[in-house]
Symmetry: C2
Subunit: 544 residues, 2 copies
């Protein structure tokens, strides 16, 4: 049936004209297929796949553009040791259709030669080859936002930047040549700009502004929770001004860059490193190019692999490299240093929960020790807010963070959500249907910090499924859950006690009346007896 | 507290040596930051992000490698009009650690010049720039599998291919230079090969073989369900041989290539098309380069945009292009032709469900009419199997397909899952907890076919969130759900009737006995009365 309907359709007018125009491929030969093979530019790829970058609909596009610009600003300010002042402005060019996003920071600015490539080339950046915690990591975000703006409005990105009060501020118009993935600067000029140093980015794009969950407002609020040292001003298109002031002037500790850890290195990468190293001996290569490898460990590895400590790294063959990998797995090596990651910390997490969710009755937070997946250090934190005026009949609400950036989309794809669903919340006194989040007056917050967060897509909305990270999230949640259980149980006991007490208070006077009648007591003796009875029963209740 | 623990850690031995080696970035200037900026090769990007390609763990890596090779084989055979015979072999090189995947087909083969780039370069392929349904679309899959094999075992991909019985079979060893994203051919030779034409791919990789859900076995089984015209032989590493024979020799209709539809074109793309067109006049550009634009529609668009039909496309300015976009949105244009997509069809879907899930009691399937998202035609099909011996206490099981390819991972990230969770299954007589799939003896199958399936990541495991696709899935499910409700209700009525009937049969003899006693009836009259009563009650039961 479906088949015959199809045939009719293909015989339609347009069907025929298509056949004529492009020719049927049925019976295609290797040669005719070969003619269709082409290189695909990374920009073309992401233009067609722009949902991978977070631009699948207008509302999300607005959020993604703001997010990429703000993430860049916060990273730059932290690297420069400047407490960030960030202003986000959204202007409506045409309501529900076209907006202008303007993000300005007081960071170190960007030097002239770098501006075009940072904003007009995908896969260009400073953090990809670096092992330390940062918001950006891929060299895609801001150029992708520019590319989307250009795709939907035809307008270039406008960047203003000043690197020092002694130098002029420069303004650039940068477009991206998608076929070549190369920037095109259409204009560059000196401008008057009051800022001493910093960067201002303006992108016009097809977008829609709407408040609520998954909005720019929500993103900035959550950003401020995870970044108590940052000051954010938001000028909304409806004229409102929101100000998230900093809670602390102290910057978070600086994450330090580390070298790769041997346990995370695979054969292909090892071969590449052996080819490219500056070290002249295998032993010194191991010591210099890896984290946590001292003379002793290097010697052990060489010995176990049956290789000379002094052999030239460039001369190591594939099979020898394979033996090295085996040897590395057998030698005990200290976990990588954790100073490349900086958690928010239990104290600040608790403070944030209390200030953000003041209506709850119970708060707890837990920062786990650092751990390692595929050689990458990472650290998990979790927090709970429970009870009070939180809605008791809804599914628990989840706040997800990666490297201090709130994740607002793709909860279903995220390891954090899966960990929460697979936790048995009944253990902690909550209701939970199979395959669902727990139900109850609960907000859960999870933060994953790492030198390389494995996201499920370039838009960085969800964390991919690594067993080691799953385990740490589970442990953090369980720790919080146990504390929650104590609270819930105490509450339950108190409620039970309250019930018992009310029974006692309710019935004892009647017992008194009955006794008075049976035993012929005076009013004084009766009320004395009632009081005594209360005290005794109260004691026995407490003992039980 | 967390803060001071941190400081201690950063002062540790390795912390200090790192500081010395790389230098602290705090107080970084625009200049020092600029020095860190670098271009990132697409291969480096995907090496680090290999979970995006489906290589996050060993078991999944094995499945992904098989899948990419099989998808390519099926596409090639269909394009050549050959009923595909595919052999998949997995050899254990070292159990649970290293395997060799070998996929061989009877397709048209690959010409010599194309082999290196198809297998040794990411983002190279024939389908990216083509608008018609195919399994492959990105030019990433098979080269990514090779890259992963190389990364984990250091070994190149081995390809054997023959394009005609009159030409020799050639065998190649292809590696990928990840820094440049370019192929390196380490060996090329003529070989004896019995096949007249076809391609054989061998990849050695770190992997793990395990049966069950999300396994190669499951993938091949589901592939055979969605591709009844294909013959698949599987040689498992444990020595088993599975054979999925074809159910029909008839190939599915051939999807035809179409041009882009005006409704899906955005400003940026329009500007690019105007620059690159061969047409000399705006009107003929619209007619030639788009689907469903005839002379009348082209004229209407030009008129509404206030542009001359004869103006040179290359001279159209940005603001004029913007007016063209507005005009396109105002002119009524026929939906794009649907012969670029080929659904499985209700009949074959039902057949597949019946043969794959023989234990159910009720089956239904629904193929929707084609629809359009972002200018891309797509079509949704759904099927249900219910009742019988299916487990009644589990969550419903979901089979997801995109362009006839089973999706085994990332269900939580998939629009199909979201559509199912947001459907109110209580309407159809099933139990369902909030935020969860329905519970009951139910299998749901959904197939999305499109010229461009929007996946949530390059590994193509889940479908991204487009409103138009969501709606169509909902409608398909609802259609099936309504039929299910009729079945469930009938079953319920039958069960109720059965209950009533059993009551009647249980109690009437007692009533007979009582009547006999009261009225002094003879045995004959009593049993006559009982029979009459039964008939009357049975009637009234049916009437009610």
């Amino acid at each position: 049936m479906a088949r015959s309907a199809r045939s009719k359709r293909s015989a339609g007018k347009d069907g025929r004209s298509n056949r004529a125009a492009i020719g049927t491929r049925r019976g295609a030969s290797a040669e005719s297929l070969a003619k269709k093979q082409r290189e695909i530019s990374i920009s073309e790829f992401f233009t067609k796949n722009r949902h991978l970058l977070g631009f699948d609909n207008r509302r999300k596009a607005l959020l993604t553009a703001v997010k990429e610009a703000v993430d860049n600003s916060l990273d730059a300010c932290e690297e420069a040791g400047v407490p960030a002042d960030v202003t986000v402005e959204i202007q409506a060019v045409k309501k529900d259709e076209r907006y202008r996003v303007i993000v300005e920071d007081n960071g170190p600015g960007i030097v002239r030669t770098q501006v075009p490539r940072i904003f007009g080339q995908l896969l260009y950046g400073s953090k990809f080859h670096t092992l330390k915690q940062a918001r950006g990591q891929q060299g895609i975000g801001i150029s992708a936002a520019g590319m989307y703006g250009q795709l939907t409005t035809g307008k270039p990105v406008v960047i203003t930047s000043r690197t020092s009060p002694r130098r002029p501020a420069l303004r650039y118009q940068v477009a991206i040549n998608t076929a070549k993935n190369r920037p095109e600067v259409s204009r560059e000029e000196e401008v008057d700009w009051p800022a001493k140093h910093g960067t201002r980015v303006e992108i016009e794009l097809e977008a829609r502004y709407q408040r609520g969950r998954q909005s720019v407002d929500e993103y900035l609020k959550q950003t401020s929770i995870a970044n108590p040292h940052v000051d954010i001003r938001f000028l909304a298109p409806d004229g409102r001004e929101e100000h998230h002031t900093r809670v602390t002037k102290e910057l978070p500790d600086e994450p330090l860059e580390i070298r790769p850890h041997p346990y995370g290195v695979e054969l292909g990468l090892l071969i590449k490193m052996l080819k490219e190293t500056k070290a002249r001996a295998l032993g010194s290569f191991l010591k210099q190019d890896f984290s946590r490898v001292g003379a002793k460990v290097a010697q052990d590895i060489c010995e176990k692999a049956g290789l000379d400590y002094k052999s030239r790294p460039t001369r190591i063959a594939r099979t020898e490299a394979d033996r090295l990998i085996q040897a590395i797995r057998e030698v005990k090596i200290m976990a990588p240093p954790a100073n490349c990651i900086v958690p928010i910390g239990e104290d600040l997490l608790l403070k944030s929960l209390r200030s953000d969710i003041p209506e709850a009755a119970f708060y707890t937070a837990c920062t786990r020790s650092p751990a390692v997946y595929r050689g990458n250090p990472f650290q998990v934190e979790a927090g709970l807010a429970y009870g009070g005026a939180l809605p008791a009949d809804d599914l628990a609400r989840v706040f997800r963070f990666a490297n201090r950036v709130p994740l607002l989309y793709q909860p279903g794809a995220c390891l954090i959500t899966r960990s929460l669903i697979q936790t048995d919340w009944k253990n902690y006194g909550l209701a939970q249907a199979r395959g669902a989040l727990p139900t109850g007056p609960l907000v859960v917050m999870v933060h994953v910090a790492s030198v390389w967060v494995p996201f499920t897509s370039e838009s960085k909305e969800a964390i991919a499924d690594y067993t080691e990270i799953f385990k740490e999230i589970r442990l953090a949640i369980q720790e919080c859950g146990r504390r929650l259980r104590i609270f819930v149980n105490r509450r339950r006991r108190e409620a039970d006690a309250e019930k018992k007490r009310s029974y006692i208070e309710q019935y004892i006077p009647h017992i008194g009346d009955a006794l008075q009648e049976i035993l012929g007591l005076s009013d004084r003796v009766r009320s004395q007896t009632v009081t005594n009875l209360k005290v005794i029963l109260e004691k026995s209740r407490k003992m039980g």
